[in-house]
């Protein structure tokens, strides 16, 4: 007897042998005492295992939505409110940025424009009619605004002007130019405050609505599962 016989016996017990193999094995079993003993051994082991009691589970293994990674379904209008909140918040931040940079940007811009407008040094191809139409007072106003910018003295450069023709003075700077006073920087913010307040309000309302919608949906979802 070899292990192949043991395999045959084991399969025979499980009814996994073909009818012809079963018949052959049965005839051998009838004549071979050792084979019969092994057969009994295997049947005993198999029977003992099959009568082993099944333990009851200590608890149910059902999955909760949290375990399964499931989330409450989003309310239909939730994405709209979320998008509105994000958009309003972005605009809100942008308005602050615009208002914050505006006072810094305007004098720089003026100073950068100064040579072209008031000093006459920035345009080599300009005719006398273009360069000569600048008011001599205007550079003074600019130099008073941005004295630290390292620009050449306006008094010196004003000598280069070919002709002091009809002065072109910005309307706002005119009274200051006449009195030799520096033109004031416009302090009016590009984005009005009431716009910012409105945007902030929209952010709050939309954000709160989205949050409340989500909260209600999650509570309903949880309630539905707890009922089960």
């Amino acid at each position: 007897m070899n292990f192949r016989d043991v395999e045959l016996l084991s399969a025979y017990l499980d009814g996994r042998l073909s009818p012809s193999d079963s018949k052959q094995l049965e005839s051998r079993l009838a004549s071979d005492q050792n084979l019969q003993v092994v057969m009994d051994d295997l049947r005993t082991a198999r029977g003992l295992l099959r009568q082993l009691p099944q333990r009851r589970v200590p608890h149910n293994f059902t999955l909760t939505p949290k375990m399964a990674g499931l989330k409450a379904p989003e309310p239909r209008v939730y994405p709209t409110f979320r998008f509105a909140t994000v958009l309003a918040a972005l605009l809100f931040v942008i308005t602050f940025a615009v208002n914050g940079f505006a006072p810094i940007a305007s004098p720089r811009l003026s100073a950068a424009q100064a040579p072209a407008i008031g000093l006459g040094g920035g345009c080599s191809n300009c005719g006398p009619s273009e360069s000569g139409t600048v008011a001599p007072e205007a550079p003074q106003a600019f130099s008073a605004i941005a004295p630290t910018e390292g620009l050449p003295s306006t008094q010196d450069n004003s000598r280069n002007l070919t002709s002091p023709a009809v002065p072109i003075v910005p309307k706002a700077a005119a009274p200051f130019a006449a009195n030799n006073l520096p033109a004031p920087i416009s302090t009016k913010a590009p984005v009005p405050l009431n716009w910012q307040i409105s945007l902030g309000f929209i952010v709050l309302i939309c954000g709160m609505t989205a949050w409340l919608l989500r909260l209600r949906s999650e509570k309903e979802f949880q309630k539905r599962w707890n009922k089960k």
């Binding site: 007897m1 043991v6 999955l63």
Partner: protein, 201 residues
């Protein structure tokens, strides 16, 4: 229970449908894990992990025996638990007086049995579990699925991802080894299973 319909619903993310399947198979999976691991807590963890893993990968189920497919997940979970246990062995705070990890809970007691009868039944169960523990893991897995859970050869082959011939061979070896081991507990065996006096040649 309309199993194919429940599986299909679960594949579409229906947790209720999947939980119906869990309730139908949790006894099989837990008992398989328990006999392989011989530790109720580890078996419960492995069973829970197996169901979680099954839900996550249920779309990978392509037909055939769902029980065998679930068995594969629990076998994998048991192997993971054994690897974890091997990496971080734990020592009980109190010594295990009986030397048996698997205690028989009170609720399992059969009211029809006398106290002596219950004791004998417990001892027999412990003896069988002891013999199962002494089997190599791959033999234990096969014999637990075939003889304890009643899976047929092809289902065991699916669950263990082994060829049918290997299953036959492992099952025969496992039964032989169990028989040899149980010879040491002859006095515990019920009359119907009294062993032959002659040793196997």
């Amino acid at each position: 229970m309309d199993e194919p319909a429940l599986i299909q619903s679960a594949q579409h993310g229906d947790l209720d449908a999947f939980n119906s399947l869990v309730l139908a198979y949790q006894d099989n999976l837990f008992n398989t894990a328990l006999r392989i691991l011989n530790d109720e807590e580890l078996a419960a963890d492995a069973t829970q992990d197996a169901f979680l893993s099954a839900f996550r990968s249920i779309n990978a189920y392509r037909g055939g025996s769902f029980k065998a497919w679930l068995m594969r997940t629990v076998i994998n979970a048991c192997y993971d638990e054994l690897r974890r246990k091997k990496r971080r062995p734990t020592t009980p705070l109190e010594p295990d007086v009986d030397g048996d990890e698997m205690d028989t809970p009170r609720w399992l007691a059969d009211p029809a049995l006398t106290p002596e009868g219950q004791l004998e039944a417990d001892e027999l169960e412990h003896a069988i579990q002891h013999c199962l523990d002494n089997l190599p893991l791959e033999f234990r897995t096969v014999v637990v699925m075939a003889d304890l859970q009643g899976l047929d050869y092809s289902e065991v082959a699916v669950a263990t991802r082994s060829p049918l011939g290997t299953i036959k061979s492992r099952l025969a070896r496992a039964r032989l080894r169990l028989r040899e081991c149980l010879q040491g507990f002859r006095e515990l065996l019920p009359a119907a299973f009294r062993l032959q006096e002659e040793p196997m040649r």
